[in-house]
Symmetry: C2
Subunit: 432 residues, 2 copies
């Protein structure tokens, strides 16, 4: 692991990939040439299908159904190894990555560590309003909401009941909208018969969005459709509303209202992985790295930054490449292919990355959705079926087993009851 | 919840059931008559299919696949309600059960709280050798073993490697045997290709049993078969060997050997729920209550103790009813039916409980097993298929959906990769 030496002719090209998410793994899979020695570093042992995390938080799926061990994904790629460790820093001059147990030397470095929940300069809010970026996040939210219903069943005090039966979601982007719709369905249908003292259908699901409309990146037409779908599920949508303060008492809104809830879920912002700060170049407001057109770090053609950590300009447009899974995967594949081509013909000019927007979809509950592909917009069942298909194909990209496919479909439709576990061992939890 | 009053003619008969396991739920299901008001109390929100817990510990299934919310199971039984609480004590004179938020009054009480891991008077061993009784237990074991393999991949010190690649199981009964076989299969097959520095097939799986043979409750023939099956999987079986001491260094055996392992799993003994002590009658060595032939508490015909908490004499035999799931279910159904009959014809003599032994099976890995039904013994594939069928039917008793059945079968056979998650959020785990 601690090794010195140059990548000279005859030696293998050592590619270190930080992060086993969509970007990192897409890159690894393009680097199968035995001339490469690929090392994937991730502090988790599994790859998480983040677009479906909201399902875990709302008892629709279990965490294991949207995860795969990174080792398993790369098991048959002989030139690839996996190290479960946290990347602590990069030394660009020495071309090493620092991890707890030592240093990794690289010839090429691909930084794909993703993003974490961002609180717009209020990190103290995290304690009261957790985000949804990891499986542990999702399970904690699920536990909290289910426990709140249990406590409500045993309570008679009206103020306490009100709080326990309220779930607040901050952020009307895709994550927030999907969470809100799924929570509404959970309380209106799945939990409906389970209690005798409380009526889960009376739970208050509130979605708070600062912009004038939810899903602001979509057209007004689609925003409106989504709004209607959420409201038909009984979600309370507060647009043009900001969160001014979050405390143990709840969230104080710009309208003056103090929302007290069993869970306040922050889906309003992300920040690029803090490792970006160690790269020594200015970052944008989201902590992202302004990369060159070939996704490399300015001044360092041997280092690439992809996925949510990269601020990628889109030629001819004013917006950047969005921080979504397909974009990360495209960037990873692009860099992997670029390195492969460079290996074979050293002096070629590097290509420019172009993001191919395959459309965007958001589901609202299990039968409603909105979708947009280029200028085509649609909602309702066709949108939802399209969403289902895309996600299943994407998932199956890693899990190419028909049996698993069938299992997953049934699981999704039958509201896996087991995904409603509250598992706890007070004082001694070692993980789940 | 805090209520006084007699169960006089015209009033409903309040049945409180402590425990939502096999015994408690079997009883509840027999008490559907609206003349009963059934309350099930459990400190977990889910019913766990314990016979398959070893699968969760060995990455074969996820916890959600062998669990169901108790509320969900009883959702359609209108006369039944569920309280998620810990039963703290029973006042036999006042006919109340104490829980944290108050008291529950009962006309009939069914105590079915099961058992916990027992350390034969060495409770201090629990910290170093956890048992396998809850989903949290299973996940903690899984996490520990998987993390040990990750650490081993990054280690070069031979002594550390030796420890990290050793799993020790204490107790050669069904649980220990099943754990050993499943761990051996996990390391020999599933994890085989995942690592580059270590060879998981070299992991040492040790099964320690004090008696001269494993599965001592079965015939010598079957014990021998099981031993052969375990050894063919590479498990090291040490019979006639006791554990003298367990410390942070490891387990000191009666042979003198000190076994240092990533995980020492205690499957050697159980103790009845400590609530039994509050009943004011002498208990046996396992903490169990010596019940009358109708499973009631001596001197208290309105109180029943069933499942692992009950020491039930078998007419004409010297052994007691075993602490297994089918026995608990039979006892629960027996008591439920008894109460129903009593409701209708008050003066009838109570029946005597008879345990119908439907046979016993243990699997060793995914294709080996031993089974015994009465005097019929068999091993190999027929035994394993029988095991599969019985467990699936048992599971489906609660989950009568074909879709879920298919899903479970596929899951079992495809070694759910997601069941290999290590999920952790240091310092802030709220459960899983």
């Amino acid at each position: 692991m601690i090794a010195k030496g140059d990548a000279s002719a005859g030696k293998r090209c050592r590619v270190v990939i930080l992060g086993g998410g969509f970007g990192g793994l897409a890159a690894a899979k393009q680097l199968g040439d035995p001339a490469f020695e690929v090392t994937v570093v991730d502090r988790q042992n599994h790859h998480l299908f983040q677009p479906l995390l909201y399902q875990v938080a709302t008892c629709g799926l279990s965490a294991s159904e949207i995860s795969q061990p990174i080792r398993s994904i790369l098991a048959r790629q002989q030139n690839a190894r996996v190290i479960m460790a946290e990347a602590l820093g990069v030394d660009l001059a020495a071309r090493t990555v620092r991890i707890e147990s030592g240093e990794l030397l690289y010839d090429r470095l691909i930084i794909a560590l993703g993003s974490r929940t961002g609180y717009f300069g209020h990190p103290e809010w995290e304690a009261h309003a957790p985000g949804l970026k990891t499986a542990a996040d999702a399970l904690a939210i699920r536990n909290r909401v289910l426990q709140a219903f249990e406590d409500a069943e045993a309570t008679e005090d009206p103020a306490t009941l009100q709080r326990l039966l309220t779930v607040a979601i901050v952020g009307g982007g895709p994550t927030g909208v999907e969470l809100a719709g799924a929570f509404a369905e959970l309380t209106r249908t799945v939990l409906r018969r389970d209690f005798r003292n409380i009526d889960p259908r009376k739970a208050r699901i509130v979605l708070i969005e600062a912009a004038p409309r939810i899903l602001a990146h979509l057209s007004e037409n689609l925003s409106g459709k989504a709004l209607g779908q959420l409201q038909s599920l009984g979600v309370e949508v507060l647009t043009g509303t900001q969160v001014g303060e979050i405390s143990p008492e709840g969230a104080r809104l710009s309208t003056g209202e103090l929302i007290s809830a069993s869970a306040i879920i922050w889906a309003a912002g992300v920040q690029a992985s803090p490792l970006a700060k160690s790269l020594g170049i200015p970052l944008d407001r989201g902590g992202r790295v302004g990369v060159s057109p070939d996704l490399s770090l300015p001044g360092h053609p041997e280092v690439f930054v992809i996925g949510d950590m990269a601020a990628v300009v889109r030629p001819g447009r004013s917006d950047l490449v969005p921080g979504v899974a397909p974009a990360a995967a495209q960037m990873g594949a692009f860099v992997g292919r670029l390195l492969g081509e460079e290996l074979r013909q050293r002096k070629a000019a590097r290509p420019v990355f172009r993001y191919f927007d395959k459309g965007t979809m958001s589901t609202i509950g299990r039968s409603r959705a909105v979708a947009q592909l280029g200028s085509i917009e649609f909602g309702g069942t066709p949108a939802w079926l399209a969403w289902l298909l895309v996600h299943l194909v994407f998932l199956m990209g890693f899990r190419n087993k028909l049996a698993v496919f069938i299992q997953w479909v049934y699981s999704y439709f039958t509201y896996k009851r087991g995904a409603r576990l509250i598992i706890s061992r007070p004082g001694q939890i070692m993980g789940s």
